[in-house]
Symmetry: C2
Subunit: 321 residues, 2 copies
Amino acid sequence: MAVYTEVSDDELAAFIADYDIGPVLSFKGIAEGVENSNYVLLTGGGPYILTLYEKRVAEADLPFFLGLIEHLAARGVPCPVPVHGRDGEVLRRLCGRPAAITSFLAGVWPRRPRPDQCAALGEALARLHLAGLDYAPQRANALSLDSWRPLFERCRAGADDVAPGLSAEVAATLSRIDAEWPRDLPRGVIHADLFPDNVFFERDRLSGLIDFYFACNDALVYDLAVCLNAWCFEPDLSFNVTKARLMIARYRAVRRCSADEIAALPRLAEGAALRFLLTRLYDWINQVDGALVKPKDPREYLHKLRFHRGVRDPAAYGIDP
Amino acid sequence: MAVYTEVSDDELAAFIADYDIGPVLSFKGIAEGVENSNYVLLTGGGPYILTLYEKRVAEADLPFFLGLIEHLAARGVPCPVPVHGRDGEVLRRLCGRPAAITSFLAGVWPRRPRPDQCAALGEALARLHLAGLDYAPQRANALSLDSWRPLFERCRAGADDVAPGLSAEVAATLSRIDAEWPRDLPRGVIHADLFPDNVFFERDRLSGLIDFYFACNDALVYDLAVCLNAWCFEPDLSFNVTKARLMIARYRAVRRCSADEIAALPRLAEGAALRFLLTRLYDWINQVDGALVKPKDPREYLHKLRFHRGVRDPAAYGIDP
């Protein structure tokens, strides 16, 4: 939960004057979102989301992200649409930070995703991947395999305090994954962070995908591997193979996967678990006093990593051979 | 900023089914409010506020608060109106906590109140006081003079670490205020916490008063004394007598004050400053690791207290003799 930047009513009124969306009726900071400051903005034109980009998002990447959601929305992906100011720009500055207004998406994110919601997620992910194929701008994945070792070195010293033996376990995993990592899979734009709190449902219908601020070019099925981690484990960390089977099947019904892609899933899922283990470990060890966001427990992803490590056959994910 | 209780989509849908406000389109936790968990709730019926009452609000007081805002709203005070469920009740339970839905008030709270907004606040405060005169339920002020000494005893040991000499200064102030406190002033329902973040403006018009969870029966002008502290000091803590003069004049234009009430203002303002100094001092000293709300600096109110201590004539507040 986070609002890092306090926007004054006067600053907001001046900012809004550059748009054709009517006067401000209300704006309230949202207690969700870790990276940026988000506000629900009600104007004469309806509800919008106002985002101020904080320092964890590189300003140079913002045109990639905003261009991407505009591109995807134009192709029917239910994601926020950036609102253009009178000068045509979508990105401007507020309180010294880059800021943008986007459309408001109805829906509620699922606190405990059901199997049918995992299926809907698989379909939406495939549609996102297809819609992104002709998006020309490129952005490297800043949290890909190459980044994991340097990230680990920056938190290695504290790892064993989080879980005994964690340092050696991560080091061994890094070496093995580096050797086994599938490097020639079909690539495209991936969301890279499509956790349940970034996906809205209206009743049973998937109504929105948000927070594209980790989007990048990478192996498409790596995105599916992230979602297997984020959607298919129960609160007790048991793996729900029904959810995985439905998610993957509906993904494949929309986007045909090669045999190599399917075979790669266990290692990609292990790698995705390692990626979130490492970033959570880093945030856990480097907690800031008075921080507004509680770091998430890295051990959840250690558990998930161990699950995928044991998977040598994608059938474990309910995939039909 | 705070959302203490995470409401799941399923729990929310079941809760909403008891109301005639249409299906849930969206709900987002609000990063404001210290006492409770607040959500912007969009339904087919429009926007609402969903509040879950956390442990700092006594459940036994909730009928007083909810009855009060319903009473005030019916008399034209721009405050949230509780929404009745199909069974007629306004208070029910969600996630194990008392919960209520209220109407959504348009407007934005002023980060730096202007003189004209201080004037509007004075007028709204007087209207609130008049509208509350025939509200029958009673609630004692849990943070009145009698509570300050026991509160001080619970944080006295750490006081000098916050400001050297603070402990002795507060002890002396308590003794003197106790002797000088005006005890026979006209009483009624007061808001008792009408800070700028509890007051909304749409453009120049005061459009809403919120957060009645400190409301109680006490001397009416004590409420004005709270507002002098909360609205009339500049960010550098200088006192803006123009704002005070306008606030008090507009208050008196709506509700006639006795000479005793006006004469009492300096001590009431000093007492109000002491009340916020003590609660902030307590929260400052008793900081909870991982708390979602940053405690406010108590020294701001030490400074304000010293200002009012020096005031012996209400003319210092711009009051015409």
